[in-house]
Symmetry: C2
Subunit: 116 residues, 2 copies
DNA sequence: CGGTATCCGCGTCGATACTG
DNA sequence: CAGTATCGACGCGGATACCG
């Protein structure tokens, strides 16, 4: 029943890419993988991201239970973001793809520079 | 130098997601993984895709040397698409992510149905 | 059969300004 | 510091019609 397994595989892939597909998501994921960070730290670490997109992606990842958000209401405000266990497994699942990308990155770039 | 390796890893991930991020790309990839197919077969196999997107994604994958295009000019016209060796390695790299998606798909869907 | 060309809606992304 | 609100540009993706 290889055919049935394909569909499952592909739909799993779709789901995963949906989680990770946003422009800054993998970057957020990886950065958070380094350890717990506050909102401001995250923003500085991901230099170039707008607050809007950072919040938006953070909320989505939070909803998907990939990141954990812990707010400390007070003065000054302090919110800490960290990876959940599920987030950790996602990073592991991403590793082979990251390695593949590493191995082919330069070739891809030159191909696109030449023809695209 | 974990910090340097992170950047490499992330940029590799970005490159990979760029290759595979289009709406139908993984599906095309997987379908072609089953074996060589003609344009029409591919279109029927990926029921619902418009010709425009199929061609567009096919061209991009071809440019990235993920798929191979072989045209037989004649009557009737016949064009066959197949996976390259690189395409094969990409599918392998995608497998853990697909498994992860499978394992979490239902949870993700219910989370999104509830809150999103 | 295997494309190409064109139009258009919609969601994504960025910039900017404002709030508790 | 950690957001929220709003606006506008842009590109993806779908539908349709046409070409070799």
């Amino acid at each position: 029943m290889a055919t049935r397994r394909c569909q499952v595989f592909v739909s799993g892939l779709d789901a995963a890419i949906d989680v990770v597909g946003g422009k800054w998501k993998v970057l957020i994921l990886w950065t958070l993988g380094q350890g717990t960070m506050r909102f401001g730290e995250l923003k500085r670490a991901l230099d170039g991201v707008s607050e809007k997109m950072l919040i938006q992606h953070l909320r989505e990842l939070e909803q998907d239970e990939i990141v954990h958000r812990e707010a400390h209401h007070g003065v000054p405000p302090k919110v800490e973001y960290s990876l959940t266990d599920v987030g950790g497994t996602l990073i592991e699942a991403l590793r082979p793809l990251g390695d593949w990308g590493c191995a082919h990155k330069e070739r891809l770039e030159s191909l696109r520079a030449a023809e695209g």
